[in-house]
């Protein structure tokens, strides 16, 4: 088992790291305060191939796989989680990649890979988050179109996207509950689509999050992802199994960033005439952060490698996502403590890291959902 990154992967880490340090750091505080999406940074990153890097070359990506994408995500999140979500500009496209027709893949995937479009994944509804099958957005066939009505909530990129991969009920009469859904690609400029930006998020405020309402929205029937209705639930599960690993990579990155800043601070800050780095409690905290980060990173790399090798282990992915969320919150928490009073002010990045970290235990599979997934597997 070779645990070493390849030379290309090491260069990828360096490039992504430098990009984040140079481009994100100067504006992170401002974008967080103003809840502004980093359009220019997304454009720059797209031109370098850093967005949609996981996509194979035939669809316009750099072909670095999900491990490569995780490496980029980790380096980005190390500087700022909110801005790092520019790599999620392909959100939803994972479902097209896994389940779409060849024609759909060739039509949509290059757009996000080359920075011509941002996509969104519209799954969650006001009354249905973890309970994906509780979705009620309805798509009805009318001639050559689907007519869609419903509401989505907490949709990343909804305000800035060109299209959304939307979970709809298409077969409400199907006796099998999980066969009632389909994924349909909806252009955000379609008549009847209204997005309303959600303000006041605790963290990741540079990321765009919105409510979406569909009122008699018409899309061509060929926008059905795949070839037959009733696949939507399974496509969504497969989609989340992929993106879950990227969220874990965000956790690894944020935690590492929190540790980096803490180490820098404790070497400089003096108390009782000596740097606080010499105190044992400080050292304990740093060590505990480092331990969890190392474990998280290995889980992320293993899960992403499996995915790149065509192997999907949902239990492993659940463990990885769960652990990364816990690690990120743990490290951000200690980071604020190590900074003392200064860690409480938003001028110090760790304050933002603390607010940002919490979402990693909530989105793309709550920690509770992950725990139940793992237990279920253990008990079968």
């Amino acid at each position: 088992m070779d645990f070493e990154l390849t030379d290309e992967q090491k260069m990828l880490v360096e490039t992504a790291g430098n990009f984040a340090k140079n481009e994100f750091a100067p504006v992170a505080q401002e974008l967080d305060r103003e809840e502004k999406y980093p359009m220019e940074i997304w454009e720059k990153a797209s031109k370098l191939g850093l967005v949609g890097a996981w996509l194979p070359e035939e669809y316009g990506g750099a072909g670095v796989g999900f491990l490569g994408n995780a490496l980029i995500t980790e380096q980005f999140a190390r500087v700022d989680l909110g801005i790092s979500l520019i790599v999620a500009a392909t959100f939803g496209c994972e479902a097209i990649y896994w389940g779409g027709t060849e024609e759909q893949k060739k039509k949509y995937l290059p757009l996000v890979a080359q920075g011509s479009a941002i996509s969104a994944g519209a799954f969650t509804e006001p009354d249905a988050g973890t309970d994906v099958a509780g979705a009620r957005t309805r798509a009805v066939i009318d001639g050559n179109d689907y007519v869609i009505n419903g509401n989505k909530m907490f949709i990343t990129n909804a305000d800035v996207c060109t299209f959304m991969v939307t979970l709809c009920v298409t077969n409400p009469e199907d006796e099998k509950r999980y066969k009632r859904y389909s994924l349909i690609i909806v252009g955000s400029d379609r008549k009847g689509v209204t997005t309303t930006k959600i303000h006041g998020k605790m963290g990741i405020r540079a990321s765009d999050t919105a409510e979406v309402s569909f009122e008699d929205v018409r899309v061509p029937r060929e926008n059905l992802v795949g070839t037959s209705e009733g696949q939507g639930f399974y496509q969504a599960m497969q989609f989340f199994d992929t993106t879950r690993i990227m969220v874990a990579a965000q956790g690894a990155g944020l935690a590492q960033g929190a540790l980096d800043k803490s180490i820098e601070y404790v070497k400089e800050r003096k108390a009782f005439g000596v740097p606080i780095a010499t105190f044992q409690i400080t050292q304990q905290k740093l060590a505990e952060m480092a331990i969890r980060i190392e474990a998280t990173r290995n889980l992320v790399y293993k899960s992403a490698s499996y995915l790149d090798n065509g192997k999907v282990d949902p239990t492993l992915n659940a463990i990885t996502k769960y652990y990364a969320g816990e690690t990120a919150v743990f490290c951000a928490n200690y980071a604020v403590e190590l900074h003392g009073g200064y860690g409480y002010i938003d001028e110090y990045d760790v304050q933002r890291f603390y607010r940002d970290a919490k979402i990693l235990q909530i989105y793309e599979g709550t920690k509770e959902a992950e725990v139940l997934t793992i237990a279920r597997r253990l008990l079968t």
Partner: protein, 260 residues
């Protein structure tokens, strides 16, 4: 337009430098190595000129141990086409600027180039002599601290702007020539992902002493290296009134700091 870019891998500016026990060099362990920042301007300029002329080859030349290949690959990932890596302990271990320049000259003399770019100095030894010595050995004109370059369409002449104290000097030079890059010449690009993936396939010609026919002997030797003195605490000037304090300050500046 064909170019050669001389590049040195150096410690990252944020690295904590430690002197080795016998005081003749730095401790290499734990150092983060990067492409010299001034060399980056050279690579970027070479790439921009190639893009402007829509043709040409950019070759990176570097003297250094095994680890230098990482900095070379960064240059290839940015878009350079090929590299020459002079990797022989006989050369790089004690190479002073003269030795470095003589080895580089031997390695590049048979390549085709309109311009040889260097960084204005390497940020470890800050010597800044290689461009001039290289020019002397290759019989080429040398212009240092270049902040703007315009190559004529016929590639026979170039107009170069260089930084001087209090202003700029604009110089016309015939090509081929050696130009050393100063900050402000351009904004070095990030390596793109496709560039990173292609870098490994680009040719790196490794040269050792026997290939080059030079002795690579240094003309200078480092006798001793030490860290700068620790920064002293500030001194508060005592005195009963402004006039007394001013006199005390003048006295300290004259006698202690020896500035006036």
């Amino acid at each position: 337009m064909n170019t050669v870019v001389c590049m040195k891998q150096v410690p990252d500016t944020e690295t904590l430098i430690k002197i080795n026990p016998d005081g003749t060099g730095i401790v290499a362990e734990g150092v983060k190595w990067v492409m010299g920042p001034y060399d980056e301007y050279g690579v970027e300029e070479a790439l921009q000129q190639k893009e402007k002329f829509k043709a040409g080859k950019v070759t990176i030349a570097s003297l250094g141990p095994d680890r230098a290949i990482e900095a070379i690959r960064t240059g290839l990932a940015m878009g350079a086409d090929a590299a020459v890596h002079i990797n022989d302990a006989a050369f790089y271990e004690k190479a002073d600027p003269y030795a470095t320049a003589s080895v580089l000259a031997a390695a590049v003399k048979d390549l085709e180039y309109d311009v040889i770019f260097c960084g204005k100095q390497a940020i470890d030894d800050d010597s800044g002599q290689v461009p001039a010595i290289l020019g002397e050995l290759l019989g080429l004109p040398v212009i240092t601290q270049v902040i703007k370059l315009e190559v004529a369409d016929d590639k026979i002449k170039a107009t170069v702007t260089r930084e001087v104290e209090g202003g700029h000097a604009i110089i016309e030079v015939s090509l081929p020539a050696i130009l050393s890059a100063q900050k402000g010449l351009n904004e070095p690009r990030y390596a793109s992902l496709p560039g990173i993936m292609k870098a490994k396939k680009k040719p790196v010609d490794v040269k050792i002493a026997g290939d080059l026919g030079v002795s690579g002997e240094s003309m200078t030797v480092i006798k001793e290296m030490s860290l700068p003195p620790a920064r002293q605490a500030g001194k508060i000037i005592e005195g009963e009134d402004a006039e007394q304090k001013a006199a005390a300050l003048a006295k300290a500046l004259h006698e202690e700091a020896k500035l006036i």
